[in-house]
């Protein structure tokens, strides 16, 4: 529980952070809320020799609700939870954030950190996948946009370059006939997801499913869209029977993991159960 030695730099701007990143290369780690990074350092699972603290960068803490919703990477869970505007535009964010950790974790942890860390059991990655977000990264060569679908590469690995900073997350607003939801089976020790499922649906006037995005977390090496389930839903009814049948479409190929809390088989079964529950809840929110 004692980390190895490291140097600490506080960055006051994105440029400064990028400069520090360029200077220290692989040795450096960005410090956001610290709620994933510091525990890993205390257990010596991570041993960066340089920490670049981006907490002083005020411009990365923002929630803007316009045609779309843009959220600064350093926005804390607590700020997401307390924004009435965000709650109106995208209620699923508060629904999910409310299930993350405890007040201390929510006061420090950030949306950017949660995505950049790519913990296979973290909650928000599934939600952002289901909402179809776009991430903005800034690096020495400038700014680029990354679709959330291309972001999660593997366990604790994203398509962010080591010299890049995640700056904003852009999400579509909930439109008419749309609904989203996040449900989770909690691992009792950590509070993370054994299985978490997020669903976004758009319903036609006749109640059939026009579009759907479904993603899971906790069950496998990375947060993943369930395209078979989405395909099975779209064009079909939004009834419980139809949703149950669609949830069964989870591919047998889907890579899942087992650990002391839940075996792979059990997770596979629960992916179906929680997927169904999330979709039904999303449909309820949509109608």
């Amino acid at each position: 529980m004692i980390p190895s030695a490291f140097e600490y730099y506080a960055a006051n701007s994105v440029d400064e952070a990028l400069k520090l990143l360029a200077e220290h290369g692989d040795e450096a780690k960005i410090l956001a809320g610290g709620h994933s990074l510091l525990p890993a350092m205390k257990l010596r699972l991570a041993a960066p020799t340089v920490l670049i603290d981006i907490n002083p960068i005020a411009e990365l803490r923002s929630i803007n609700v316009g045609d779309k919703v843009t959220i600064g990477a350093m926005t804390t869970y607590a700020s997401l939870l307390n924004s009435a505007e965000l709650k109106a535009a995208l209620p699923v964010i508060a629904e999910a954030v409310d299930q993350i950790g405890d007040p201390q974790v929510r006061n420090r942890g950030t949306i950017g950190g949660a995505l950049a860390h790519a913990d296979p059991a973290a909650d928000l990655p599934a939600v952002i996948l289901a909402l179809g977000g776009t991430l903005t990264a800034q690096g020495p060569e400038g700014t680029r946009e990354i679709s959330i679908d291309d972001f999660f590469v593997d366990m604790l690995t994203t398509s962010l370059e080591p010299n890049e900073l995640l700056t904003t997350i852009t999400l579509p607003k909930m439109g008419a006939g749309e609904g989203a939801s996040y449900v989770k089976m909690v691992q009792p020790a950590s509070g993370y997801a054994i299985v978490g499922a997020a669903a976004w649906v758009k319903l036609n006037a006749d109640g059939t499913v026009a579009a759907a995005r479904v993603a899971i977390t906790g069950a496998g090496p990375k947060p993943t869209r369930l395209e078979e389930v989405e395909n099975a839903l779209v064009g079909g009814a939004s009834s419980e029977e139809a949703v149950t049948a669609a949830s069964e479409a989870v591919s047998d190929e889907l890579e899942l993991l087992g650990d002391i809390h839940a075996s792979e088989d059990y997770r596979r079964a629960m992916v179906k159960v929680y997927t169904r529950r999330a979709i039904l809840k999303a449909i309820k929110a949509a109608s």
Partner: protein, 793 residues
């Protein structure tokens, strides 16, 4: 002016310890900083079992800030830690192997200490561990107690063939076999009481200082028993006079048994402090606490119960493997024997019972007493088997319990398992009260209705009895159960010149609120304001020898020692008052802090006036010594046997296996309660630990001996948000054993609870034909039980 005391015994006052502790003003081990102190870090084995071929400490030694590096070979001038409780010593062979301060030649579990680094700060010490090069030759590993005794299993110690520490039994085997042979109904089940991590909020550690001029050690330790540590470390480990060591327990942040024992860090901090001439501090981090400090439970038992079709139990048989880990911790052999087998029949009159226990070595951390210590294992077993039996004969589990309870007129009751007689009990009223509170009959209807809607509710009953106030020395000690010393307790009570009362005890609190309860009982008995009573403890300098706080013994044994000293003080006060009032000593009455002449209450002296005279000693009766100062060493004539009934209601989500604990009712009887608020606090915490065992906690080793549940991210200690509100009630059946009638309440909550929850889960799943399930009832385990049953569709 303080208010004259009314009745303090029984008053639900807040703990006097709390303002200091909850405002961060406490003084825990890690708060202590001595001049010149160095910090210790321990290199631990990454292997479950290996030979140490070579240790090279030169790189670490050369690192800046490192003061010294030592290995086990350096510390061969001190002895291994002692085992202070062998199973029925003398009558049963005990193949004891205890740990050394650091392992020598062989490591036997992941976490076994291999080298010690001393450095100027904790960070440097920790970093230097990575500079020590150890060459290991891995050996085969066994972590499961059952596998450890199989032929061909890896052997841990030369003197323990088949890894057997001891084989012990109790009860009447022939009679029990006959009962089973003749039985109408018999059921058999494998009952596993999983391994648990005690997880006190404060981890363990020690700070040792050595004074070369006097050759005296002072050790601050996170200990529940500093006097015993002093004895063990001097007489057994170091071979120095007992007077050369002073042990101090500062504030101790919970122990749950884990802090009773003699640990290697006590020895290596002492050894190193003497060696380098500077104080040495060692504080475990949480990972080390999980890896190295003692674990609890880990029983695998084949249990059998038999009886008649109309619900009379006629026999109980158990064959238990108790996994004790890689070495024997201080009192480990006594836990699965005396404190388990001897109370296995619980609250029931079972005419024939027999229990065999094999203690075994495995490549895991040591197992020793953990809150409840043996009794939770026993109570879980009998209460699960009662339900199993009830289901088999199709009788309501409450009725089976009622039908077999030991009756009030049976006390003192000998259960035939070699225990002292149960002191007192009245089991049915506690059961009835709990059934009434939970609304048992209505619940059964609700349950039926719910099932029709596809909701699965269950109710589980646990009627427990346990052993507190341990113990008469001659019974527990070497002539009897094998405990290596006595188990009396001590108290000194003094009334100072100012009328202030100072109590020093061998018992010490680490969360129990003893400063409060002891002051309450003294205030009442002496008739002085509660605030005028100071309770001192926890330092071997200045307190009388005591065996420490565990086994729910402090009220019944330590409290009685205080009570007896107070009685002696009152006797002396009466004699002195008679002298002061020129009255006949035989006519004096002690009441409400005053002594008066019988029939004329105006002729009186207050305790303060008497104490002043006793202190200045200007005029004392012929032959009387100055000062009101009395000490008692109290050896109890029997243990005490608290009991009660707990009932849980759960709902199971059959689709996921998730269990929701909806209600929890506990009716406990610990005799008269000195402070109901503190009793409730103890029951709350205790129940939570039992509920945690039923639903959440398990220490898991993989087959290589790696502790997979090695952090709080994987070992699920529940928070308040994960348990329901507890509905508490009590009955009061005084113990005849001590003058206050108190029994003890520190462990009852844990002892009574796990089986209430498990019985409820199995009741909920009865439509699926589920008869038993091991703990913890994780969603997956419950889900599997449902899916593997025949009745699932």
């Amino acid at each position: 002016m303080s208010v004259a005391p009314t009745k303090m015994f029984g008053a639900a006052i807040k703990r006097r310890e709390d303002p200091q502790l909850i405002t961060g003003q406490g003084n825990y081990l890690d708060d202590i900083k001595l001049p010149g102190m160095v910090h210790a870090a321990v290199l631990r084995s990454p292997y479950g079992h290996a030979k140490i071929l070579k240790i090279d400490t030169s790189r670490a030694q050369a690192a800046p800030g490192v003061v010294a590096v030592f290995t086990g070979a350096d510390m061969m001038d001190i002895n291994p830690l002692p085992c202070a409780w062998t199973a029925a010593s003398g009558r049963v062979q005990n193949n004891i192997n205890t740990p050394r301060a650091l392992a020598v030649d062989v490591v036997r579990f992941v976490g076994d200490p291999v080298a010690l680094v001393l450095a100027e700060d904790r960070y440097t010490a920790r970093d230097a561990l990575e500079l020590i090069d150890v060459e290991y030759e891995p050996l085969d590993v066994v972590v499961d107690g059952r596998k450890a005794v199989e032929p061909g299993a890896p052997q841990l110690h030369e003197n323990a063939p088949n890894n057997i520490v001891f084989e012990w039994d109790c009860g009447d085997k022939a009679k029990t076999d006959a009962a089973f042979a003749a039985a109408e109904v018999a059921v058999k089940e494998e009952i596993i009481n999983q391994r648990l991590l005690p997880t006190p909020m404060e981890t363990r550690g020690s700070i040792a200082r050595y004074e070369p001029s006097t050759q005296e050690f002072t050790v601050w330790m996170t200990s529940q028993a500093p006097h015993v540590m002093r004895l063990l470390l001097t007489a057994f480990v170091f071979g120095i006079p007992e007077s050369k060591l002073r042990c101090i327990s500062p504030h101790v942040g919970g122990g749950f048994g884990q802090k009773i024992f003699c640990y290697n860090d006590m020895a290596f901090t002492m050894w190193a402090a003497r060696k380098i001439g500077r104080p040495v501090k060692f504080v475990e981090d949480r990972s080390e606490n999980f890896k190295y400090s003692t674990h609890g439970r880990d029983h695998i038992t084949v249990a059998e119960i038999c009886g008649t079709r109309d619900g009379k139990i006629t026999g109980l048989r158990a064959d238990t493997i108790a996994n004790l880990g890689a070495y024997i911790s201080t009192i480990a052999p006594g836990i699965p024997t005396t404190l388990y087998g001897r109370i296995l029949s619980g609250v029931y009159k079972i005419p024939a019972a027999y229990c065999r226990v094999r203690g075994v070595y495995t490549n895991t951390a040591m197992v020793d007493a953990y809150r409840g210590a043996g009794r939770p294992e026993a109570s879980y077993l009998i209460e699960r088997m009662i339900d199993r039996f009830a289901a088999e004969i199709g009788m309501d589990p409450a009725e089976v319990r009622r039908k077999n309870f030991i009756q009030p007129e049976d006390f003192p009751y000998d259960n035939g398992l070699g225990l002292l007689p149960y002191d007192s009990g009245n089991y049915e009223p506690a059961l009835d009260k709990a059934l009434a509170t939970i609304g048992y009959k209505d619940f059964r209807k609700e349950q039926e209705e719910a099932r029709k809607q596809g909701r699965y509710l269950g109710v589980g009953i646990s009627s427990y009895v346990e052993i507190c106030g341990v113990a008469p020395s001659a019974w527990i000690g070497l002539p009897g159960e094998g405990w290596g010393a006595g188990l009396w307790e001590s108290a000194n009570v003094r009334v100072h010149l100012t009328g202030q009362v100072v109590v020093t005890t061998g018992s010490l609190p680490h969360g129990q609120g003893l400063e409060t309860t002891f002051a309450q009982l003294v205030a009442d008995e002496l008739g002085v304001p509660y605030e005028n009573v100071l309770v001192e403890h926890s330092d071997t300098a200045g307190t009388p020898f005591g065996y420490g706080t565990y086994g729910s013994r402090s009220a019944a044994v330590g409290g009685t020692a205080i009570h007896k000293s107070v009685t002696k003080i009152k006797e002396k006060a009466k004699k002195l008052a008679a002298h002061m009032l020129e009255a006949n000593p035989d006519d004096m009455v002690y009441e409400d802090g005053k002594v008066y002449v019988k029939g004329s209450p105006d002729r009186s002296k207050t305790l303060a006036e008497i104490a002043l005279q006793a202190s200045v000693a200007y005029s004392l009766p012929e032959g009387m010594e100055p000062f009101l100062d009395e000490t008692t060493y109290y050896d109890p004539p029997n243990c005490t046997f608290p009991f009660g009934t707990h009932i849980a209601i759960v709902e199971v989500d059959i689709e996921t296996g998730r269990v929701d604990l909806l209600r929890y009712v506990a009716v406990d009887d610990c005799g008269p309660q000195i402070n109901p608020l503190i009793v409730q606090g103890q029951i709350h915490g205790g129940i939570t630990q039992g509920v945690a065992q039923a639903l959440y906690e398990q220490a898991v080793y993989d087959e290589n001996g790696q502790l997979l549940s090695g952090t709080l991210m994987d070992y699920a200690v529940p928070t308040a948000a994960q348990v329901p509100h507890y509905e508490l009630d009590h009955t009061v059946t005084p113990s005849p054993v001590n003058p206050m009638g108190v029994k003890g309440a520190g462990e009852a909550g844990t002892i009574g609870s796990a089986q209430a929850v498990m019985n409820a889960i199995i009741d909920a799943l009865s439509p699926f034909g589920v008869k038993h399930m091991q703990m913890p009832a994780t969603p997956e385990r419950v889900w599997r039980a449902i899916h593997s049953s025949n009745n699932h569709n």
